[in-house]
């Protein structure tokens, strides 16, 4: 956080090197130092092979068998005044004969190789970490910018393009930063060392090697210019495609209702074709450069062998020198090649970096200070809004509202009415800080709205937009979103976790990320006027009742699941409720309405598959139709001689289905009744039936058997009424059920949770757990009666609150798409009410609701305001003008101006616009 507070930079550094230098100076210098430190050992590692060949192997310095050499003598030449001999001897060295010298030198070589390797390992690790940290910093920086963009900026950007930039495009940028300074120095150093070594051995050979490197250095960048352009194009086209993919997914309904899927296919085909040709050209050029590179690198050894060999033969250089030169040269192309690769990467990354940073720059970025986390409670509003000379125009310069002068005090209930484009919505958005003011100003509590911290407006002003934004998560998460302004209660870490947490925070600080902990409790209970979560749930129940969402959440709860190990108490209470529902069902009047699951009885209201499984499938292996072909299931069926009767049943079912339905066209509503066979399958069954006519069971092929047996799994006697299940067959199926459970292989044990009257089934819904049976087919008013009874039982066991809490865990899906639009809008209002704002703005927010529900909610909100002592303001932009009669003050807007302003009675008596709108 500290960094962007200090330098409130409007744009990121324009070059990747500046960016890297700005944030990683110290680390870069450190790793450079290490690189330099590694140079001497690198040089020695090159030198030793020559010494081995010349010394012990060729025998130079060992004229006789007994000759010895001093090894590892450490001495420096120093001025006379320090030592009379002119050398300072630290270690007099070891005296070794020829063989021992060979061993000593070889071992030294090995040690140097190891040291070199360790240096490389450390440097790579350090660079890698540096790069990862910079990637993290860069991404955070981009996200921070997204959070600070002016709202209007989002009209111009596509969300998936932003996502693709933050996620993919900056990835190589971060990776490169670790190499930004180190690699050129390291590789450059290595190349120079190798060059210097070659020069020392043979000046002319060195010159030749140097000359070829110089040609490479000049030629390659020229060839790369086009590569940069292509790289840029590739990035832009790929980003645009990501944007289009996002758009396509969002607007998929438009594609279907307009039959434009082929238009979209053509569009994507064109885009992909474009990307392909760019990439292909890129590859062609890249590989050409590579080819050239390799060629030049191979030309040098050719020269060495030819000329070096000639010199050696002429005796101008010794063979040891030539071997060393060639060994050194072997190491030269490596660094040079890498250096060229690095340069290539640098160009690539610089292009990407510039492309991304340009996109993340916007005029009018929100000052970072206005978004600083405020941990303490924010003071209540005192005055309210004051608008002076406010005008707002859209992008094209059309005036949306013009010269508005007004004050909206706390304690006022203001209704705004007017036609659709009269300016009411614009005014609402302006108060909600969502539109830039063109002229004039808005003040809140005597400060300019633009200069107020978001902590003030975000917490003390409630804003309900016409389209509520919901995030992926639970219903409760979305409802409580408005209370999560700053961490409230620190999470306690113990033991290992504590150290790990400290490390996490340290890393965050290192990379300029937020150091606030997402694992803290962020819910601001005080802001909702409660002390803890339990009270909050009660408060939520009140608010959801006001906005008409209680029964929805209750249904989510009944359809939700509870983990019995995590919530043992709740599971126990639900089991108690199951028993009390059961005792109520003993009454004759109700017993026919539900068939309870009984391990010792066949459940006639359930399918044959359900009867055998007698539980809930958890994983994937036994899900739906997969169960029907499960190998183990068929082993059990076979053991109980069920395949034959089931096959016969299947034949009969198919015959009936074809007799009844063959004349109907597919898609006919009657097929709904035929749950075991789809219209598409019918012709196949018809053919199979004809083929199998008169064929005995034993002669039927396996595939055919399976085809017909599969039908029977969906059979429910009371529903299909084909009279296929007699007591004998039911008893056989019941036995199969028992054996299925008894011999269940261990790999299937995780896939199923069996029905047990005495235990809670964590895989079934709360409702199914209470009911623990099936509502019977065809009992008049069965379902209504039973569900009513179920609710009574919930009340009786004081389970209502808890099932409600389960309902709050309902997953609303991406952007809340699993909720209806009315539910989303109500949730938006509830979210704003929950934080008890001093001023509530409702901007045509409940348009998806029918009129009576809207009136009900409005009345509840107005009554809620009356019940509170606090001085609360309400500003409601209404779609139905007549509802304005319930407010204290009415503003009538027309063509962006306030044309009438007063109490509803005054305005009605005036017989002006308002009166006309109401009538």
């Amino acid at each position: 956080m500290a960094d962007h507070k200090k330098d409130d930079d409007k744009s990121l550094p324009e070059s990747i090197f500046k960016f890297a230098w700005k944030f990683t100076r110290r680390q870069q210098i450190w790793v450079l130092a290490i690189v330099l430190l590694s140079m001497p050992t690198y040089f020695f590692a090159l030198d030793i092979p020559k010494r081995i060949v010349n010394g012990p192997i060729q025998g130079r310095g060992f004229p006789t068998e007994e000759s010895t050499q001093v090894f590892l003598k450490i001495a420096f030449d120093v001025p006379q005044w320090m030592s009379s001999s002119g050398t300072l001897e630290l270690f007099s060295g070891l005296t070794l004969d020829r063989f021992n010298s060979l061993i000593a030198l070889s071992i030294s070589f090995l040690i140097l190789v190891i040291i070199n390797g360790l240096f490389k390992f450390y440097i790579n690790l350090y660079k890698g970490r540096l790069g990862e940290r910079m990637l993290r910093r860069l991404r955070f920086e981009l996200i921070d910018r997204v959070l600070r963009f002016p709202i209007s900026h989002f009209k111009r950007v596509k969300q998936s393009e932003v996502a693709s930039m933050v996620k993919d495009e900056v990835e190589p940028v971060g990776g490169f930063i670790g190499d930004a300074f180190v690699t050129p120095v390291l590789l450059g150093g290595q190349a120079l060392t190798a060059m210097a070594f070659i020069m020392l051995q043979s000046f002319w050979l060195g010159l030749i090697a140097g000359g070829i490197v110089a040609i490479q250095a000049m030629l390659i960048p020229r060839l790369r210019r086009r590569l940069i352009e292509l790289g840029r194009e590739r990035q832009l086209t790929a980003r645009k495609m990501a944007g289009r993919v996002g758009e396509l997914v969002d607007g998929i309904t438009a594609v279907h209702v307009n039959d434009t899927s082929n238009y979209e296919r053509a569009d994507f085909s064109a885009r992909l074709g474009n990307i392909y040709s760019i990439r292909y050209e890129l590859f062609k050029r890249k590989f050409f450069v590579k080819f050239l590179n390799n060629f030049l690198a191979q030309v040098t050894p050719f020269v060495f062998y030819l000329l070096g060999g000639y010199f050696a033969l002429m005796g101008q250089i010794d063979i040891g020198q030539l071997v060393a030169v060639i060994a050194a040269y072997k190491d030269l192309p490596g660094p040079i090649k890498d250096l060229i690769n690095w340069d290539q990467q640098r160009l690539d990354v610089q292009v990407k970096y510039t492309q991304v940073t340009e996109q993340f720059y916007s005029d009018g970025m929100i000052d970072a200070q206005l978004q600083e986390a405020v941990l303490e409670p924010v003071e209540n509003l005192k005055d309210g809004f004051k608008l002076s000379g406010l005008s707002i125009s859209d992008d094209t310069g059309t005036k949306l509202i013009e010269n508005i002068n007004a004050t909206f005090s706390l304690g006022e209930r203001i209704a705004v009415v007017g036609g659709v484009n009269s300016g009411g919505e614009t005014l609402g958005d302006a108060l909600g800080r969502l539109l830039p003011q063109t002229l004039g100003k808005i003040q809140l509590d005597n400060s300019d709205l633009e200069d107020l911290p978001e902590a003030k407006t975000g917490r003390r002003v409630g804003f309900v937009p016409s389209e509520v934004s919901l995030f992926f998560g639970t219903f409760g998460d979305n409802l409580l979103y408005g209370l999560k302004n700053a961490p409230q209660i620190k999470k306690e870490y113990n033991g290992d976790e504590k150290a790990a947490h400290k490390n996490t925070i340290m890393e965050s600080r290192q990379t300029g990320n937020s150091t606030l902990d997402i694992n803290d409790d962020w819910i601001n209970y005080q802001a909702a006027g409660v002390e803890n979560y339990d009270e909050l749930v009660l408060k939520i129940m009140d608010i959801l009742k006001d906005v008409g969402l209680s029964s929805d959440v209750m249904n989510f709860g009944l359809r939700g699941t509870v983990d019995p190990t995590e919530h043992a108490d709740l599971a126990a209470k639900i089991l108690a409720a199951r028993n009390s529902l059961k005792s109520r069902l003993h009454n004759d009047k109700y017993s026919a309405m539900v068939e309870l699951f009984d391990p010792s009885k066949y459940t006639t209201q359930a399918t044959i598959a359900e009867n055998i499984l007698f539980g809930t499938s958890i994983g994937d292996a036994l899900e739906g139709r997969k169960f029907y072909s499960n190998e183990y299931l068929h082993e059990v069926l076979d053991a109980h001689h069920l395949h034959k009767p089931m096959y016969e049943m299947g034949i009969e079912m198919a015959a009936t289905a074809i007799e009844l339905f063959a004349d109907l066209e597919p898609g006919h509503p009657f097929f709904e009744q035929l749950s075991f066979m789809s219209a598409e399958e019918m012709p196949d069954y018809q053919i199979a039936l004809n083929r199998l006519k008169g064929v005995g069971f034993d002669d039927v092929e396996l595939a055919d058997k399976q085809m017909f047996i599969r039908l029977t799994f969906d059979y429910i006697e009371p529903r299909h009424r084909l009279g296929l299940l007699d007591d004998e067959r039911r008893a056989m199926l019941l036995d199969a059920r028992h054996d299925f459970a008894k011999g269940l292989p261990s790999d299937l044990k995780q896939e199923i949770e069996f029905y047990d009257p005495e235990t809670y089934n964590g895989a079934s819904s709360v409702q199914d757990n209470i009911l623990f049976g099936r509502i019977s087919y065809g009992v008049a008013q069965g379902e209504e009666t039973i569900l009513g009874m179920l609710r009574d039982v919930l009340e009786e066991h004081s389970l209502y609150d808890e099932v409600f809490s389960v309902g709050l865990n309902y997953d609303v899906g991406s952007s809340g798409k699993r909720l209806s639009s009315a539910q989303r809008q109500k949730l938006g209002l509830a979210r704003a009410l929950l934080k008890q704002p001093d001023f509530l703005i409702v901007n045509r927010s409940l348009a998806a609701l029918d009129y009576p529900s809207l009136v009900k909610i409005l009345d509840a909100v107005l009554a809620g305001l009356k019940n509170q002592d606090a001085n609360q303001g309400l500003f409601w932009v209404l779609g139905h003008p007549d509802l304005a009669l319930k407010f204290d003050r009415v503003l009538v807007l027309d063509e962006g101006r306030i044309v009438e302003d007063g109490t509803p009675q005054e305005l009605l008596e005036k017989q002006g616009k308002f009166a006309a709108l109401v009538n």
Binding site: L660, L674, G778
Partner: protein, 155 residues
């Protein structure tokens, strides 16, 4: 438990469906729902919009008409009786309340399904028409008879 074939036998005894070929009757039976009613439960309520017709399989029901807030039993029906077919054919509210006077089983024929069958199998439409025309003839005959009696009484 009565199976679908027995339901078909039953439907055949209902004059409205008597002339239909068995396969169509079976389809009608298959796509309709078997319902059980307790004593006191209503099959339909006077004034409601009709969404289904019923054929009583077993048991008995009272037909009641609301007169100035008082319910009067106008008739009793039992096995094979068809209830509510008029409301299914045309958009009129239920003309009477039908309430089970004993435990009752009925085949509930969905309005949509019924109309769909008539549309798809014109023979069935003709049968229904014939049956209704029969009833109209009877009613007309009864009416003129009643009128005659009324006139005779007036003379």
């Amino acid at each position: 438990m009565v199976s679908i074939n027995e339901e078909v036998e039953l439907l055949r005894r209902v004059p409205l469906f008597a002339q239909l070929e068995p396969a169509k009757l079976k389809l009608l039976a298959f796509t309709s729902q078997r319902m059980t009613f307790q004593v006191g439960q209503e099959l339909c309520h006077q004034g409601d919009t009709g969404d289904a017709a019923y054929v009583i399989i077993s048991g008995e029901a009272d037909i009641l008409i609301d007169q100035n807030g008082k319910e009067i039993v106008v008739a009793q029906v039992g096995e094979n009786a068809v209830i509510g077919e008029i409301a299914v054919l045309c958009e009129v509210p239920r003309t009477a309340t039908v309430r089970a006077s004993s435990p009752l089983q009925a085949l509930k024929i969905d309005k949509e399904h019924f109309l769909r069958m008539i549309r798809e199998f014109p023979d069935m439409g003709i049968e229904v028409m014939r049956e209704l025309a029969d009833r109209l003839t009877t009613t007309t005959a009864e009416l003129s008879q009643a009128r005659g009696q009324l006139e005779a009484a007036n003379c």
